[in-house]
Amino acid sequence: MSVRFRPSDTVDFVVIGSGAAGGVVAKELSSAGLRVVVLEQGPHLREKDFTHDEIKFFHRGVLVNDLKRQPNTFRKTEAEKAVRQPAVMYGRQVGGGTVHFTANFWRLHEVDFEERTRWGSVPGASLDDWPIRYAELEPYYTKVEQEFGVSGLAGASPFDPPRSQPYPLPPLPVKSGGVLFERAARKLGLHPYPAPMAILSKPYRGRGACTQCGYCKHFGCEVRAKSSSLASVIPMAERTGRCEIRAESYVRKIEVNAQGRVTGAVYFDSRGKEVFQKARAVVVCANGAETPRLLLLSKSSRFPNGLANSNGVAGKYFLADTGIEAHGLFEHPLNDYKGVHVSRLIHDYYDSDAKRGFFGGGGIDARFDWYPINFALDGLPKDVPRWGEGFKSALARYFTRSMTLLAHTSCLSVESNSISLDPELKDSWGLPALRLTFKNHPDDLNVQRFLRDRMVEILEAAGAQKIWADDAEDLVYTGHLMGSCRMGNDPRTSVVNGNHRAHDVPNLFLVDGSSFVTSGRQQPTCTIAALAYRAAEFMVQASRKGEV
């Protein structure tokens, strides 16, 4: 059914990556009549590949980047030599991270786009406004919710930003953890509401409703109820007959000509053979870690510091997935391992508040995203014995009676937090390994401590028999990869403009988490997809005017 192009065919666009951004861009461009090749480093999996197997999908991590073949290095500061260890996680298959994600699907708030203006500067950070505002993105958020399929209740949270349409699907069933959380939060004067989830509560556009099997995070959905780009927009792109999804194609370089325009991408195919796909324009949607890495790998005489990096900003201002957890044990079984992971949420502490004495905020959700093995290994409180009868009896008591609260928190933009190329370590294809340099801004940890205390209050109000919580510590390993090729009006301090066009290269676009200027309060996927719809619309218009 789907079209095949030859590498020597000059297609209109090569799209690198097929996740929340790449899938949308491919669908939009091909629907507008343009010819598209999507290069995806991972495999093209189908529903039959998605089984309930914790060892395979969770502990062996087959849906994420393979750190044996693609090692990372990490250091806290630029003065240190980085050491080999896991640093970033991203989805590695057609559909990218939307295949294995939890499916929390929050819009950003209006304030997220203008925190610098509203809050002022933060010492030690590079807090900036976005070049666009919420109102400009709202129609695209609506489009994401309609095309992907999102379950939620419009107007249920007083903190929600304005929306032009309700969610296309009603909320998913509340779980026991959600009930306990909701009762406690109301008692404390907070505003709990049904979590918006990119999971179908009812059949929608030819896809089946969620069966509540409980295998979401780290698993692919075998009934296509999870609204991944694999289940939603990718098939729409393929049906246009103008989009080829070329899986197992690992791009190593974007080529440029003497005029400084990109001409296509060089990739390793599944057998390790190098192929050059020609294109009139390139869109990089490879995620907030691999997008800057690919620019830095694409050095040329024209761009000796890496493609689109004349100002040295590519890879800098990296934003990470910050958050903190607290857990409670209750008298009766919750059985919260059944159903989607998250059913209730609060955004009462989303905005920064000067009275707290630091920048930042977060959203708190009630969840159970544990599976039997990882709960036994890492889900019990520290005072439970690690072996013996005490360990065994705790497993029997805690697994069905526990819940987790997770505060998803702001991560401040810091110039030295960056993605770069490791000078020594190589991946299995001989390319320089990805190096992460990262140290949290002190306010990242201040907001975590603040919200940990709020979560403990909520668990107390919920009547938990026992409560245990994390310590706020510097992050060393992260998903939600953002900020590393940020958008902006000033070509000196950003990599792409407000339309995701590279300042340096007119026919190169970067669209994914790397475009973010601030972290929001995590849950970037909905915004990544909305940015992609907006960027693709610009690309189509520019293309029609001959301006790409």
Binding site: I324, L334, N335, D336, P372
Partner: protein, 182 residues
């Protein structure tokens, strides 16, 4: 590292190829189809010693534990397939545990032959070693992982913790959401 990032670290720290998993599955199904599971990697004596240690991690006194769940067969399959590179760690770890056993109980002949109190003393002496961490991880995986991998026999592990693997569940799921519907 906070526990959120530690979890994520664990989630991928042992990344392996999908193909290897497929081999493990195939092997486990073949083994499961025969009535008596067979050890491939581990010798009988070695398996007895490892099983004695695993049975201290999840004991069988109050209800079926690691031994009845067939954890040792999971370990055997893991070392044959996706955790091949851990064989050496097992060999050296067990050797060190034997040294510790002879040091604590010079008259003893094997770990399996120790009595209850001696077992606990030996475990306390090795519980902070890397080998113990590996054996604990594998014991938990063999107890609570899918039965195709050779462990969790008769779903002993899942029954203990109250977990059920199903294609579909209907709400209410637990006590409190049921209460809310009344």
């Amino acid at each position: 590292m906070n526990s959120t990032s530690r979890r994520r670290f664990l989630e991928v720290a042992l990344a392996a190829q999908a193909a290897e998993i497929a081999v493990a599955h195939q092997h486990a199904r073949t083994a499961a189809s025969s009535r008596t599971p067979v050890l491939v990697m581990l010798g009988a004596a070695e398996a007895r010693e490892l099983e004695a240690l695993a049975s201290q991690i999840i004991p069988s006194a109050s209800s079926p534990g690691a031994r009845e769940a067939g954890v040792i067969y999971f370990i055997d399959k893991a070392l044959e397939t996706f955790d091949r590179e851990k064989r050496e760690a097992y060999r050296r770890g067990l050797e060190a545990a034997q040294v510790k056993r002879r040091e604590l109980f010079p008259a003893s002949e094997s770990i399996a032959a120790l009595d209850g109190g001696q077992h606990i003393a030996l475990l306390r002496a090795i519980e902070s070693t890397e080998f113990f961490g590996l054996l604990r991880t594998h014991t938990v995986m063999g107890f609570l992982g899918n039965p195709e991998y050779g462990g969790n026999r008769d779903l002993i592990g899942w029954k203990l913790i109250g977990f059920e693997d199903a294609a579909r569940f209907e709400p209410p799921f637990g006590y409190y959401d049921r209460e809310e519907r009344r």
